[in-house]
Symmetry: C2
Subunit: 269 residues, 2 copies
DNA sequence: AATCGTGTTTCAAATAGTGAAACTGCCTTG
DNA sequence: CAAGGCAGTTTCACTATTTGAAACACGATT
C-alpha cells in the first residue's frame, strides 16, 4: 500500500524496482522480487540488468543476490549537501539540542512519509547514515503533522489518502477526522505535539519551517520522554522551537550558493 | 570525461541527468543542465519532470531550481545498510582507528572512482574533508590502488581508461605505466601505499578486502600525515591492516541476514 | 535420467521516447 | 509602449525501445 504511483514510463518502473529491493532490507534474489512485482520475468530481468549496469543495484555473484548499489550513496551525499535543508540547518539544530538538552529532529516529506534528514542527540555522539534517511509515518509524528498543517489542501488530501492510520499506541489518531482536527489546531497555534501517538512514553513538540510565502520547507522537533518532561514542559519550548524554525527559514532564503563552486576536493586515501 | 557509459536506454539517460545535477554541487536551473546535456530541450525537460515526479529531483519554485531529491537519501540509507560492507565493517574500522590512533577509511568502487563508505577519525583529527558518500580518484589513493591491484584485468583496463592522471602533487603517478608498476608491487605485497600522491603531507597504507575466492569487496586504509608518521611507520602497520581487512571479509562471508527482518522501526518524532 | 526451480534469451507487437519547432509568458530594451 | 529576447513548456509525426509470452539453458534435486 501507499505505493508511489508509477506511470512515469520506464524510469518510474525502474525506480519502483529500487524501492522494492529497498523494502526487503537485505540482499534479495531475483525471484523474490519477481513475486512481488507486477512485471513479467523478462521485463524485470532487463530492469535488473540495467540498474546493475548503472551501479544502482549491486550484484553478489557468490550468493546470487542483489542489493542497492553504492552509486546511491554518492548521489545521496550530493542530495543531502545541495538540495535539502540539512546543511543550512545543522548549526541551528545543534544549538537547539544543546539549549534544550533533548533530541532534535529535522525532517522533510518524501512522498507521503516523513523522512529524517538530521538528528541531534544532546548526550550521545553523532552517527551518519544510520539516522539520516530513516522514514516514519506522517499522521502520528510531530514533524509530520506540523508540516501537513501548512500544506495545500490538495497535498494534504494526497498524503492522508496514503496513511495507514495504524494504532501504534492508545493515543494514536486513527482517523482522518481526528487528524484533520489536530491539523487545524496546529495551524492556529503554529506548532504541534506528539502526545505518545507513535511510541508510548515518547512525546515531542514540532514546528514547520516555512518560507515567507508560506511554503513548507521542512519540520523541526524536540523529542523527550514522559519520564523526563511533561507535555506542558515541552509546550513551554514552543517559542524556542518556532524561533529556530524561523531562523532556519531565513537562512535558507538568504543562502546563495557560490557562483562557481571552487572547493578543492580534499579526500582521504 | 570519465562519463558513465550511457546506452542503458531511458533509465540510463535519467540517471545520467541525476549525475549532471549532482555535478553542479548546488541547485541548478533547467537551462544550465541543458547546456551540458546532449539531449534536446524537450527530451531533457520530460526527464526532469519524470524525475521530479518521482522524488529523485526536487524543485524549488521560488528560485526555479532543481536539486537532488530526498528520495535518494532514503534509498541510500537502505543501500548503506543492506548492501555495502559498511555496517559489517563498522566495529572493525572503529577498532583499527583506536589501536592505530589514526584515521581509517572504508571504501568501494563506484564505477571508476573510489567511494568512501565510512570513516573513523582518531583523537587527533587530520585536516581532511571526507566522509560517507564522498568520492576520490582511483589512481592516486591508497584504497583505490589496493582494490585495483586485485581486480580482473578487464576491469582494471576499464578503470584505468577513465582516470585523468592529473598531477595533484609531485609524487602523483601520472601514467598508466607507473600505475601498473605499482599495482604489480601491491599485488605481490598484499598492501599498497599512498606516498603523498593525492595531497602533500598525507600518506596512507591500504589493503583490499577480498573474498576467499579473491573477489574484491572493498578497501581499507589507515591515513596519517608526514608530520606524524613516516612511510616506514605506516608500513609497519601492514599486518594489522591486512588482518582487519581479512576479518571483515570473513565476517561478510559468514553474515546471514535474518530470514525475516522483524525490526520495529523506532524513530523519533 | 527425469524433474524442478532459477535465471536468461528471443521476437513480433505494442508502447514509449525523440526532437524539431512552435508557443507562452515574463523580463529587458529601444 | 511595443519589440525582442530568454527560459520554460507543449505539440506531434517519426522511431526506437520496451514489452511479455514463450522457449531455452543449467544446476540442483529426486
Amino acid at each position: 500500500m501507499a505505493e508511489r504511483q508509477a506511470g512515469d514510463g520506464t524510469v518510474g518502473k525502474a525506480l519502483e524496482v529500487l524501492d522494492m529491493v529497498a523494502a526487503f532490507e537485505r540482499p534479495v534474489r531475483f525471484s523474490e522480487v519477481l513475486e512481488d512485482s507486477p512485471y513479467p520475468k523478462g521485463t524485470l530481468y532487463r530492469l535488473f540488468q540495467t540498474l546493475t549496469n548503472q551501479g544502482m543495484l549491486s550484484y553478489d555473484p557468490d550468493r546470487q543476490t542483489y542489493g542497492l548499489g553504492v552509486r546511491l550513496v554518492r548521489l545521496a551525499h550530493a542530495a543531502w549537501q545541495q538540495s535539502s535543508l540539512a546543511p543550512i540547518a545543522r548549526s541551528y539544530v545543534e544549538a537547539l539540542s544543546q539549549s534544550t538538552g533533548e533530541t532534535v529532529h529535522l525532517a522533510q516529506f518524501d512522498h507521503a512519509q516523513v523522512l529524517y534528514l538530521d538528528k541531534r542527540n544532546a548526550l550521545k555522539p553523532i552517527e551518519m547514515y544510520s539516522q539520516a534517511g530513516k522514514v516514519g509515518p506522517a499522521y502520528c509524528t510531530g514533524v509530520g503533522k506540523a508540516m501537513m498543517a501548512f500544506l495545500d489542501e490538495e497535498e494534504v488530501a494526497r498524503i492522508i489518502s496514503q496513511q495507514s492510520f495504524h494504532r501504534f499506541t492508545e493515543h494514536t489518531l486513527t482517523s482522518e477526522d481526528e487528524l484533520r482536527h489536530d491539523l487545524a489546531d496546529i495551524r492556529s497555534k503554529g506548532f504541534g505535539m506528539d502526545r505518545e501517538e507513535h511510541e508510548p512514553g515518547i512525546i515531542c513538540i514540532a514546528a514547520p519551517i516555512l518560507t515567507p510565502g508560506g511554503r513548507v520547507l521542512g519540520g523541526l522537533s524536540v523529542t523527550s520522554t514522559t519520564a523526563q518532561k511533561s507535555l506542558a514542559d515541552l509546550e513551554a519550548l514552543a517559542p524556542q522551537v518556532q524561533a529556530t524554525a524561523q531562523n532556519i527559514a531565513v537562512e535558507a532564503q538568504n543562502w546563495h550558493f557560490p557562483d562557481q563552486a571552487t572547493d578543492t576536493i580534499r579526500t582521504g586515501t
